[in-house]
Every structure is written in C-alpha cells, then in structure tokens.
Symmetry: C2
Subunit: 199 residues, 2 copies
Amino acid sequence: MLRSFWSNVTAGIAVLVGIAGLSYVLAGAAQPPGGPAAVVEFTADGKLKQPIGYREWVYIGEVVTPNELNGGEATFPEFHAVYMDPESFAHFKMTGKFRDGTVVMKELSSVGSKEAPSGNGYFQGELTGLEASIKDSKRFKDEPGNWAYFSFGHKYPLKAEVSKNAAAACNQCHQDNAKMDWVFSQYYPVLSAAAPRSK
Amino acid sequence: MLRSFWSNVTAGIAVLVGIAGLSYVLAGAAQPPGGPAAVVEFTADGKLKQPIGYREWVYIGEVVTPNELNGGEATFPEFHAVYMDPESFAHFKMTGKFRDGTVVMKELSSVGSKEAPSGNGYFQGELTGLEASIKDSKRFKDEPGNWAYFSFGHKYPLKAEVSKNAAAACNQCHQDNAKMDWVFSQYYPVLSAAAPRSK
C-alpha cells in the first residue's frame, strides 16, 4: 500500500505539474500578462528593441500620405498601418480608454501603384519603416501623457533598437492635435466602433 | 492492491480527461478548428451570415480608391482594409499557400479628410461597407479556384446575410488579375513578408 500511495502521490504531482503547465500556456495564449513588458522589450539603457509579432496585433487604422502630395517626401512616407497590442485593445473595448502599457505600432509602406482593377488610387508597394508609441506611467513618467515615441527608421534595414524621441519631435504634435489621449483616434473608425462611448 | 489499482486507473482516467479538456480549450484558444465553419456561418440555404470578430483577425493590407479619382464613385468606395482569419494566416506563413477554408474580409470606409498634421493624403472617415471571399473546395466546388465572393453592401446598415455573387461579378476579375490564387497579393506586402517563398 505504501508503494501505491507514493505511486499515487507521484501521479498526483505529475497531474498538477501538467495542469499548471497547460494552464500557463493557455493563459498565455488567451491573455498575455499585462504591461508593455509583455509585448515589447527594452535594453538595459532604455532603448526599445524592435518589436516582433505586431503584424498579428489588432489593426486599428490606415492612412496614406503620398510623397507626391507632400512636396516629394511625406513626413511619414507613405502608407501607415497602425496596430495596437491585443490586451490593450481588449481593455479599450471594455473602457474606451488607452490603458497604462498600451503599445501602438505604425508600419510604413511605399505607394507601389496608382491604378489597379479596382480603380484609381493608392496601392501598397514595399514595407519601408516602423515606429512605435508607448504609454507607460512608470517608464515615461516625465513625458506628457506618459506617451513616448520611437522610430526604427523610414528605410530598410531598420534599426534594431532605438532611444525615444524628444517630446518636441512627436509628443507635442500628438498633444496638440490628437483627439483622445495623444492618439489620433479621429482617423481610426475601428476604435470608435470598438468602444462607442469613446466617440 | 486491487483497490489501489482501480484508484490508479480512476486517477489515470481523470488525468486523461482533464488533459484532453484543457488541450481542447488550449487548442481552441491558440488555433481554432479548421475550415471556414470555424470563423463564419452559413444559413441552411447557403447564405453567408455577416461574420463577427474579423477586426481582430490578421490585417493583410490596405488600399484607397477615393471616389474623387474614380468618376465620383469607386467600385469599392474608398478605403479597403483587408483581413485574413488567423488560422489560415498561420497556414500561409508556413506554406505560402491559401489553405482550403481561407476567409478574407474586406472592410470599406470613407475618406474623412485629406489633410492632417502628418500631411496631405487620405484619412479614414466612417466604416461603410463589408465584403468577403472564401475558398472552400466542398461548398464552392463549382467556383473557379473554389473562391466565392460576398458583399454585405457599401452603405450602413449592412445586410445580415447574403448569397454569393455570380462568378462573373467578382471571381473573373480576381482570376484574371490577382497574382496568387485569386488573391491580389501583389498589393499586400504583409503577405510576402510573412511567407517569402510566396513572392
């Protein structure tokens, strides 16, 4: 009986370990742990490492500022695809607010063509640039609104890690012109559809 | 010993059931079961119900065909945001192919403004329309490439359920002009970045 007791204990531990492991993976799949640390990484000296996986985050809007309409080179050339990390988007849907820890990525791509079977307009060419904005009341406690802005460049190869931009370079324009909490939500109908109270 | 044997068997069964249950939930969270039935629904007479949740699928590309550049009304007015269901995107990343069961949604939105702090261009206004294309070798075995096309309308309120369009209305243009398997992948650099072999 002693042997079977230990056999049961061993089996029991194996079950608990197995369930804990599965639960951890399950929790990871359904809802990653909070904060930007969950989706982005910083170097010891505070540089943001180029995030991965953001193309599978939640897409919140699209803009095109063609170079040809902006004196040959737009400030952000040319298509902008904007993504938000999934957990922050889930929080936004519930509350209409950008939670502490929100990460927004802006991926730039060129205009590839202006005519296609669907008509005249602007059609994407190549991926060209990547930028990020992160709201973090601890790490960016001195930035207005606690938002910091990063650019990995507008041409490939992109930088692997970058320091935040000076507040005057990005934050000021967002503070002055963005509709909601430093985010240009006025151009992202997906956001207002997700959280009608945020309108 | 007999009692402890049955105790072990019972414990073993409990473990297996538990793990199977967790694995099912886990599989559900990480990778829903295959086929369009997992992400879209049809009525008994074959109409596609308006999908839900597609704004949290994987965004694959953006296009803008402004009305003003298309004689007052574009064929698909005006912004097109294109999404693919996550499991089919995961398959595409692995293989460079659109699996049987791929669902692609195209959400339309209006041009809201043409000038913003980031420059001149086209900025989204309101969500206006929704379309879908689905590759299904069983349900659409008679459609070229097994792709069928659906439109929920270009103006709100959208239709709740719709029959597939005639092949001549959509499929023919995709067959003639789309780069890869009836999908206009030439305008979606996210796709070629996801599966470089598909280029």
